[in-house]
């Protein structure tokens, strides 16, 4: 009986290992062959850092650096705006009457459940109307607005559960002890919902960073490219050059180390408790 359990366990781990291996194989191959200096997946040139050297070639990296800059500006502004907007709105929505609250929360869900393409084209059509196109000129403004539009719902939904769990007496007590509503909000409500605000911010930041479809439709002809749209424009037409092997490898390694470290740290903290 014990033996059968062991066999089952080995089969289970084998299956999990196989799926993981398949999931990570493409990433692994890109990293290995980023040291080949070619994009043909052979080491015919031997082991070299040629692909990484192209990173420092100003002719090759100009577009990429520009895209990285735009991505950073967009992700930071969109996530900060949607976090601030989301935090205040959640408190407001929570205080709304039952019916209005239900309507607002349903509309709030639309950007989350809607297919990205539909959201993207609807915003594009909206920005193209005569009146609106004058108020919101093409370029970063439109991109920030559309990113705020699809990020804020996630911020609100990550704060709302905490607000619902909060004891309403805490706020009332602050008022009774002489705080005005504004001070009570800053000193009592905000600290309590802070974990929700932080996870909402993190979610908004990653969503904005990763977005391709909404940016692609709303970037207009101003030549603004984010990382996603630049990769799409450059690497889709030509085949993948050694330059991209190096860029992708760096991304993989940085992303994975960051995420793993963050989670290992969190696990350790929980264990310490």
């Amino acid at each position: 009986m014990k033996k059968r359990k062991l066999v089952a366990r080995i089969c289970a781990d084998g299956y999990l290992g196989l799926v993981l291996a398949l999931m990570y194989l493409p990433i692994f191959l890109i990293i290995v062959f980023s040291f080949s200096g070619t994009s043909r997946f052979t080491f015919s040139n031997g082991f070299t850092f040629d692909s990484y050297k192209t990173l420092f070639d100003p002719e090759q990296n100009a577009g990429l650096l520009d895209a990285l800059k735009n991505t950073a500006i967009l992700a930071v502004s969109a996530s900060v705006i949607s976090t601030v907007l989301g935090a205040f709105s959640t408190i407001g929505i929570f205080a709304l009457g039952r019916r209005t609250k239900k309507v607002v929360l349903t509309v709030n869900q639309l950007p989350m459940i809607n297919s990205e393409v539909v959201m993207a084209v609807s915003l594009m059509v909206f920005f193209a109307t005569d009146f609106i196109s004058v108020i919101f000129p093409q370029g970063m403004t439109r991109l920030i607005i559309s990113h705020v539009a699809f990020c804020t719902p996630y911020v609100i939904l990550s704060i709302l559960p905490r607000l619902q769990r909060m004891d309403p007496n805490m706020y009332e007590a602050a008022l009774d002890l002489g705080a005005n509503p504004f001070v009570a909000m800053i000193k009592v409500v905000f600290p309590y919902i802070m974990p929700g605000i932080i996870s909402g911010f993190a979610m908004a930041f990653t969503l904005s960073l990763d977005d391709f479809i909404i940016t692609q439709f709303n970037k207009g002809d101003t030549g603004i490219e984010t990382l996603s749209t630049y990769i799409y424009e450059d690497a889709r037409v030509k085949s993948l050059e050694p330059f991209w092997f190096a860029v992708f490898s760096i991304f993989f390694v940085v992303m994975f180390t960051l995420l793993l470290l963050m989670n290992i740290k969190r696990t350790q903290k929980e264990m310490a408790k």
């Binding site: 997946f41 084209v121 059509v125 539009a149 804020t152 996603s228 085949s239 993989f252």
Partner: protein, 265 residues
């Protein structure tokens, strides 16, 4: 009197966002609805619908193809993903890093992953087509299937499983009659999280089939591009997509409500 005043001020925090939602979420969708009934010179017409549903327009063929590819992708993801989520919950529930490894690829830009797989397929001389598109889709959406499944499977109260075993159920029966029904909300949410993006994405099929396979997202993209400029038909397609989204979410809500009832009983 004072209390009334403070409630009023708190509510006011929601007003800017309500205007924002109206302006940037509701109005754009209404514009799509209006556009679907306008011809090129902005006159009222049913022509766009006629073109989409006619054989010559090819709209239905694209829709059919996308639905098939979406269904197959979702099915493969479920068949591969459910055992993963189940085994993870059974043997490695406390191992957060291992669970994380399964959903990590979600955070790597999907274009990077898709282009990497394409480069490998090309190096191996695998002809780009239906097979490679399906691989890319499954590769891309598997984490989105595993994540909700894992969340529900981990949260299943273990006493249900023990009760079933005490009442004489063998392992297969426990799995089919206890675990599977209890994880239904996770299955439904996993299915919507894969199916909706899979039929409406436009880059994956384009990249992994060298533009040979044309899906619903590609079609919407094409109709709204400057070259074709047929916003009307594109709007009709967006409306069809919107209907699919609403139907999918009605299903999600139905199953999660069921679950609440069950847990109360």
């Amino acid at each position: 009197m004072k209390k009334f005043k403070f409630r009023f001020t708190r509510r006011a925090f929601a007003y800017p966002y309500m205007i924002f939602l109206l302006l940037f979420v509701v109005v754009p969708l209404v514009l799509i609805l209006i556009n679907a009934f306008l011809d090129e010179s902005d006159k009222f017409t049913f022509q766009n619908f006629a073109e989409f549903f006619s054989d010559a327009g090819g709209g239905l063929t694209v829709l059919g193809n996308s639905l098939i590819i979406g269904l197959v992708t979702t099915l493969i993801c479920l068949v591969i993903g459910y055992p993963c989520a189940y085994l993870l919950a059974k043997y490695h529930a406390s191992n957060r890093v291992l669970v994380l490894l399964f959903i990590l690829p979600m955070w790597v830009n999907f274009l990077i992953r898709t282009l990497s797989t394409k480069a490998i397929f090309m190096a191996l001389d695998v002809p780009l087509g239906m097979g490679t598109v399906l691989f890319g889709m499954v590769y891309n959406y598997l984490p989105y299937m595993i994540l909700p499944l894992h969340t529900t499977l981990v949260s299943i109260d273990h006493s249900y499983i023990e009760a079933a075993e005490d009442l004489g159920a063998d392992k297969l029966t426990v799995l089919l009659k206890t675990v599977l029904p209890l994880s239904l909300p996770g299955i439904v949410s996993g299915i919507t999280m894969t199916f909706i993006p899979a039929i409406s994405t436009f880059a994956i099929s384009e990249i992994l089939s060298s533009s040979k396979i044309f899906l619903f997202g590609d079609a919407i993209n094409m109709h709204f591009s400057k070259a074709t400029n047929s916003f009307g038909v594109g709007s009709v397609m967006s409306l069809v997509m919107l209907v699919l989204v609403v139907v999918a979410n009605v299903f999600v809500n139905l199953t999660s409500k069921d679950e609440e009832v069950k847990s109360v009983l």
